[in-house]
């Protein structure tokens, strides 16, 4: 797994359109795998992060351990995590997703807690006064009001995951990263440029889409600055 050299790199143009037109199915498959790996990771990350965020927000004692564990997962480089996991879970989608989900958790849980912190105390009082029990209050009142922060976290987590998916080339996946890796081992710029461009475009598209969803489902937050 070492690039072979730079001989001849000078006459290799950054884009060879004939390569692209001949490899549309390959590019499409890489893009589809990239989207799939990202969607699964962010969806599972959210399913884990929502309850943990609510619990971490309600029980201050648990907040420290939750942030420590997810903080460590966030700090371990993806390549290191994959190389530790592969002997146990193999060159599989499971290995890729364990790594990718791990990185979303800190971002998502942190934003759930920040969002819940921002729910005004009188709203909680009112809900309690109307007879809401803790579970219904969390699901029906607090989480919806925390949505702007949660979606902001989702945007960061999604964009980060799209970048990280490229590293799964090492376990034979990679999505668009497989094109970038192809560019490296063959010292051939076109797949590198295609993989990079599509990856950045996908990140921007996902970010803007989530921003749009946020505007639609949290109309009350529109007047606020920032997001």
């Amino acid at each position: 797994m070492l690039a072979t050299g730079v001989l001849g790199a000078a006459d290799d143009p950054w884009i060879r359109w004939d390569w692209i037109s001949g490899h549309v199915p390959v590019i499409r498959a890489a893009l589809a795998q990239h989207v799939e790996l990202t969607l699964i990771a962010v969806a599972i990350g959210l399913i884990i992060a929502l309850p943990l965020g609510v619990v971490g927000w309600r029980e201050r004692i648990l907040r420290g351990p939750i942030f420590s564990v997810t903080g460590i997962l966030y700090t371990i480089p993806s390549l290191a995590l994959f190389s530790i996991l592969v002997p146990f879970t193999g060159l599989t989608t499971l290995t890729a997703e364990i790594g990718l989900v791990s990185y979303t958790l800190l971002i998502l849980i942190r934003n759930v807690v920040v969002g819940l912190d921002a729910v005004p105390e009188d709203v909680r009082e009112a809900a309690r006064g109307m007879g809401y029990r803790p579970f219904r209050q969390a699901v029906g009142i607090e989480v919806p009001l925390a949505l702007p922060a949660i979606i902001a976290g989702l945007r960061i987590a999604t964009v980060t995951t799209i970048g990280l998916v490229t590293v799964t080339f090492v376990i034979g996946k990679g999505g668009l990263g497989s094109l970038i890796y192809d560019g490296l081992i063959r010292d051939f710029k076109t797949p590198l440029v295609v993989g990079t461009t599509l990856s950045v475009a996908l990140a921007v598209f996902a970010d803007l889409t989530l921003a749009g969803i946020q505007r639609v489902i949290t109309p009350w937050a529109r007047s606020r600055a920032g997001t």
């Binding site: 797994m1 420290g64 371990i76 480089p77 190389s83 002997p87 942190r110 590293v167 990079t196």
Partner: protein
């Protein structure tokens, strides 16, 4: 022999601890490359972030540069640098500097923005010159944010330096990449553990440094709550 024993045996093997291919030299390569990259990134990024923050200009650029940085995969940056300058440490250095700059610009800009206009006015009213306002008033207040940016960059750089083995440089990533290409599970796990431990050490020590950087007068403030600032302030601001 179980995998655990194989890993233990790998670490116990004396030949893995000496020479150019040994753990000490790989660690040194990793730390040297990361350290030089972080230093170069700081020399470029901090004057920009702090300068823009002091002048209260260019906020959109300073804040969004971290978002743009996040959208470009670091693996892609590395391979692009390889295509530009060839094999060895130069492509890794270029990619890591490019990776390190955005969080430092954004966080130092945000830190300067944390300084109340009243405080700046008061400092000027006391007859402080611009330079004194910057170095004696604004920078101490912004320092925890500047440190948060340096920490975020450093952790990213140390993590991504692992990929440098792909473009013919050493570092601890060598064990991982070789472990994969030689189908050597013990080497894979050992390399992964070494990289993970180094990354956590960097994160923990820089978090400690960041806490120490909070000026005494500001120690009680909510905004420097370090449980929540594990992820950089720039990202908190997105909430």
């Amino acid at each position: 022999m179980s995998l655990f024993e194989q890993v233990a045996r790998w670490f116990a093997d004396g030949s893995h601890w000496q020479g150019d291919f040994g753990i000490p030299n790989r660690l040194l390569e990793h730390v040297e490359l990361s350290g030089a990259s972080i230093l170069a990134a700081a020399i470029i990024a901090l004057p920009i972030g702090i300068g823009l923050g002091h002048l209260r200009r260019g906020g959109i650029v300073a804040i969004n540069v971290a978002n743009v940085g996040r959208a470009v995969p670091s693996f892609a940056l590395l391979v692009i640098a390889f295509e530009l300058v060839g094999l060895g440490w130069p492509p890794a250095f270029i990619a890591l500097v490019a990776l390190g700059i955005p969080p430092m610009v954004t966080n130092s800009y945000i830190g300067m923005g944390e300084v109340d206009a009243d405080i700046r006015e008061a400092a000027r009213g006391m007859g402080m010159r611009e330079r004194a306002v910057l170095f004696r008033v604004e920078l101490p207040i912004a320092l925890p944010f500047v440190m948060a940016g340096i920490r975020t960059s450093a952790v990213n750089v140390v993590a991504t330096a692992t990929l440098a083995a792909l473009v013919g440089w050493g570092g601890l990533g060598r064990f991982i990449i070789d472990g994969f290409s030689q189908r050597d599970d013990a080497q894979k796990i050992a390399g992964g553990l070494l990289v993970a431990i180094l990354s956590i050490l960097v994160e923990v020590s820089l978090t400690g440094l960041q806490r120490l950087s909070v000026p005494k007068g500001l120690r009680m403030r909510e905004s420097v709550d370090t449980t929540l600032s594990k992820v950089p302030a720039a990202e908190l601001s997105a909430a």
